[in-house]
């Protein structure tokens, strides 16, 4: 049995049926990491020994008949911007190279409550700023479908690790597309929940009003299962909503008859790769065949979303990243004669170029004299974007778009051109701006065999609708049976 190719719900069945032990599962992943991590470079920190030890303990508990969750003993990978007590949380930055948080993020607590086993911390663009994971201070992660291409970003480590079977599932975070776009590039499933559904406590903030943690998984059922674990009100996060707990797996009905799908035509215009467009059109046909009602409409505010996003995200980032000042924790320069130099040199030496670029941009748009023209205007546009989406959801259950205008690009081809890199987020940012849930699932490959992602956008707290729509497509299309990354061939 090829353990690491199984989905989590398959692993869970085998655990329950006593066909597998937790140790066997974790050992399989440890072997896989030892074999393939050198090529993929998905991890910042691996916790193989700790994970094996934990697996043995859980097996013992299960044997002794102790009450454990159904998922106890299944491993997981965590993006390296979620705080883990006693394990480094680096945000892939020199600034936090040796930072060990004294507490667990709420989502990490929730994983612990289920006795999930942390296999390690996954690589990312520094402080989640980027779309290729090339802005990691430590290493460039490869896309398992083609090692000289990027896995996307910023949760590139999480998506690559899932695609390469280095972890069965992973947590990512999404500020402007950072879960969905790498999931699309790596041919896996990535869900960004509604803003406020998952606690942000312990997620190192990039842009507080946009950040959301979510699952990156092999299939839609796994995504629903991981969402079940991490969703829920947290009194430590004032922006988390207090809504009743749901079982999202119950939404997976494999039926889209009568489902109203809106196609915002702006997402299929200029700049979208023709092969991507073609695969999306095929997907639309499949939905029609399955009984969904599909209609094209105009979401014309969309063209302002990217600019709005970069203003708001950078403004918040410039403030959020102020705490990395070399005073209490993190990198401190050795080269300073006074306080100003301590600040300036610690931050100049500790942050990479993309982070600095965004801090400067954010500082600028909040400055007196520019605030009204940029930040305030962006907030006004944000309100309009929300209204446009509200209007769309009066008519449609879900919206369907490409996740990214292109497939994964080659390493080094965009990292020198920030604007081109920013365009990778063009299909995903408006979902964050409006605080909506969005899921990316694979809907085919291009002529080079590189995966193409489809994004389904739902109304606030209507994760069930997009999960069901995604699941139904997945069951019909069977992407996982048809295509495998370079690694599996």
């Amino acid at each position: 049995m090829d353990i690491t190719s199984l989905t989590v719900h398959e692993l869970q069945e085998k655990l329950q049926a006593k066909e597998l032990t937790s140790e066997e599962i974790v050992q399989a992943y440890v072997d896989r990491i030892n074999d393939k991590e050198k090529d993929v470079k998905a991890f910042v920190t691996t916790l193989c020994d700790e994970a094996l030890k934990e697996a043995k303990e859980i097996d013992k508990k299960r044997k002794n008949g102790e009450k454990l969750s159904n998922l106890a003993g299944i491993p997981i990978g965590i993006k390296d911007n979620m705080c883990t007590k006693g394990v480094k949380t680096t945000c892939s930055s020199k600034m936090l190279e040796d930072f060990v948080a004294p507490y667990n993020a709420t989502v990490v607590e929730k994983l612990n409550d289920e006795n999930l086993i942390d296999l390690g911390k996954l690589n990312m663009d520094e402080f989640a700023m980027g779309a290729s994971t090339e802005y990691s201070y430590f290493k460039k992660t490869s896309n398992p479908w083609k090692l000289n291409t990027v896995p996307g970003g910023s949760s590139g480590g999480s998506a690559a690790a899932v695609a390469a079977d280095l972890v069965p599932w992973a947590l990512g975070s999404d500020t402007g597309g950072s879960i969905r776009q790498p999931s699309s590039f790596c041919g896996v499933v990535g869900l960004k929940p509604t803003y406020g559904l998952v606690s942000r406590y312990g997620l190192v903030a990039f842009a507080s009003s946009l950040d959301q943690i979510g699952p990156i998984t092999k299939d839609v059922r796994d995504a629903a299962m991981l969402l079940n674990i991490i969703a829920g009100h947290d009194e430590r996060d004032s922006t988390s909503y207090d809504i009743p707990k749901k079982d999202y797996t119950k939404a997976l009905k494999n039926d889209v008859k009568g489902l109203k799908i809106g196609i915002p035509k702006e997402y299929f215009g200029e700049g979208i790769n023709e092969e991507v467009k073609k695969k999306l059109e095929e997907a639309i046909e499949i939905y029609k065949k399955l009984g969904a009602e599909v209609e094209e409409f105009s979401l014309d505010i969309a063209e302002y979303a990217l600019a709005t996003y970069y203003i708001i995200a950078c403004a918040e980032a410039s403030s959020n990243l102020g705490r990395f000042d070399g005073i209490r924790y993190g990198y401190r320069t050795e080269n300073f004669a006074n306080l100003k130099e301590l600040y300036r040199n610690s931050r100049s030496e500790g942050f990479g170029p993309e982070v600095k670029r965004r801090i400067i941009l954010g500082t600028y748009v909040l400055s007196s004299g520019y605030y009204d023209a940029y930040y305030k205007k962006a907030q006004q546009v944000r309100t309009l974007v929300k209204k446009e989406f509200d209007k769309a959801f009066e008519k449609y259950d879900v919206l369907l778009t490409p996740t990214s205008p292109t497939v994964a690009f080659e390493m080094g081809t965009r990292s020198e051109n920030p604007l081109e890199m920013y365009l990778a987020d063009i299909c995903t940012v408006s979902v964050n701006i409006a605080g909506l849930p969005g899921i990316s699932i694979p809907c085919g490959v291009n002529s080079d065999g590189m995966p193409i992602g489809m994004q389904l956008i739902g109304n606030k707290f209507e994760e069930e609708k997009i999960l069901n729509a995604a699941y139904t497509f997945e069951q019909e299309y069977k992407f996982r049976d048809k295509y495998k990354p370079e690694f599996r061939k």
């Binding site: 945000c91 948080a101 942000r200 903030a205 000042d325």
Partner: protein
């Protein structure tokens, strides 16, 4: 032109630490002191990934302060970030309120220099967090950061530029302090920095409509220093203008030793705080019901207490006003009155000897070291004749030195009044023998001489003899 041709204009930004048990955004204690960085957690130390959660008590206290100063309470308010770098500010931004403060458009009433009532406008009251403290490192270079105070809740009370003299500034501050103490939202301990003021000062020619350029003195925490600083700064500004100079808008530091203001050494080149709405917190929405509930439960304010003292205890208006100026003093008065039932005498002790000693020691009423029970006991001891009021004064002094039961004090010190007839007679005979002139005066009809003789007898007994008995016995002896 002379100084009397100018008018001074002052406005205050008063920061008061709220006396909530926990900090504004985490559950660390707000207690003053403690070993450095012991009242801290990942949130108030701004560890990566932590988030603030607004303490509801802070909102309640600020609304109380707003209602007590006649403000309009915003139904819809929010928090904002004020961004700047300093080592005592761990997040590199202070969570404060920018354009939607909790309370606006209020006033407090004080007396102007002529004793007429005057309203001082309150522009706004907003909530924010305090910063930590930097301690000079005694073991070498640099500074040490103590974040115990970081996140302690503050309200900032901004006044209109309605103050016209240092006396008004002083009365305004004392009034604010009294109000905040009455509604029990701040202990206003100036020595501990829980009440501090930024004072804006400008001058203009009398009758001018435009304000002059202002200077600001930051973080003042003594009434006396503020008064002196305002007087100095007003004079300095007039001198500058009279000499043909111009006032520069700047932040000044008051040096209490030299009695002068100096420009702040580290003059920040025009700080841009880049305020923007705090995305980690949700809007503060207050219902009519919530605000009314707080309004109805506001404690008794000084004005109504004053009326009650006049009606219930028959105190003079002046005494009632003095007592109620401080809630602490007023509470002590009420507690002592309840025990001994003698309002007037209790008030007298508090307003004469106790207040005098407080003044000498430069203490606020909160600095009274003894309890209301002690004061009540003192009043009772005098009433019963166990001690004289002269001894009473000494007991008060002693209560300030080492507070304990007055009965114990007088026993220990041997201050119990001599009321034994035999002993009194002995003293009276001795004094009569030693003062023939006074005796002669008395016999010649000068009744006053008796007073002198009683005085001599008190001296002889170190104040312990019962004065009524002395009086009576002298008369009996001399009239024989």
């Amino acid at each position: 032109m002379s100084k009397s041709d100018y008018e001074s204009v002052m406005g205050l930004e008063v920061h008061a630490e709220l006396s909530t048990k926990t900090k504004i955004f985490c559950s660390c204690p707000t207690e003053f002191g403690g070993e450095p960085n012991t009242h801290t957690c990942p949130i108030c130390m701004a560890m990566p990934g932590t988030l603030p959660v607004l303490n509801e008590k802070v909102v309640e206290y600020a609304v109380k302060a707003g209602l007590a100063t006649n403000c309009t309470i915003s139904r819809n308010s929010k928090n904002d970030r004020k961004n700047y770098f300093y080592p005592d500010l761990p997040k590199s931004y202070q969570i404060s309120q920018f354009d939607k403060p909790l309370c606006e458009h209020g006033y407090v009433e004080i007396e102007d220099d002529e004793g007429n009532p005057k309203k001082i406008g309150i522009t706004r009251i907003h909530i924010e967090e305090d910063a930590g403290k930097l301690n000079h490192n005694e073991f070498g270079g640099g500074s040490l950061v103590d974040l115990n105070r970081a996140g302690v809740p503050l309200i900032e009370i901004v006044s209109e530029p309605d103050l016209r003299s240092s006396g008004e500034v002083d009365r305004y501050l004392k009034k604010l302090k009294s109000i905040l103490q009455y509604i029990e939202v701040s202990d206003c301990k100036m020595q501990e920095g829980s009440l501090r003021a930024d004072v804006n000062v400008s001058v203009r020619k009398k009758g001018a409509k435009e304000f002059g350029t202002r200077t600001e003195m930051k973080n003042m925490n003594s009434f006396k220093a503020i008064q002196r600083a305002v007087d100095y700064e007003v004079d300095r500004q007039i001198d500058v203008i009279e000499d043909g100079g111009k006032i520069e808008q700047e932040t000044l530091r008051w040096d209490d030793v030299s009695g002068k203001t100096f420009p702040m050494r580290d003059k920040e080149d025009a700080q841009d705080y880049r305020y923007f709405p705090e995305p980690d917190l949700v809007a503060i929405r207050l219902s009519e019901e919530y605000i009314n509930d707080i309004k109805e439960n506001l404690p008794e304010m000084p004005e109504s207490r004053r009326e009650r003292y006049i009606n219930e205890f028959k105190l003079s208006e002046k005494d009632a006003k003095l007592l109620t100026a401080s809630k602490y003093l007023s509470n002590m008065f009420e507690a002592a009155e309840k025990i001994c039932g003698n309002a007037k005498v209790v008030a007298n002790w508090l307003l004469s000897d106790v207040s005098r000693i407080l003044n000498e020691k430069e203490l606020e009423p909160e600095g009274i070291p003894f309890k209301a029970e002690h004061l009540a006991k003192l009043v009772e001891l005098i009433e019963k004749g166990t001690i004289s009021s002269a001894i009473g004064k000494k007991v008060v002094e002693e209560l300030f030195e080492s507070p304990r039961d007055p009965e114990e004090i007088i026993k220990e010190k041997g201050w119990i009044q001599i009321s034994d007839e035999g002993a009194i007679k002995e003293v009276v005979e001795k004094v009569i023998a030693n003062n023939p002139q006074s005796v002669a005066d008395y016999k010649a009809g000068k009744d006053k001489a008796i007073g002198f003789l009683v005085g001599q007898a008190m001296k002889e007994t170190k104040g312990k003899a019962n004065p009524q008995m002395l009086n009576k016995m002298f008369k009996e002896e001399l009239d024989k």
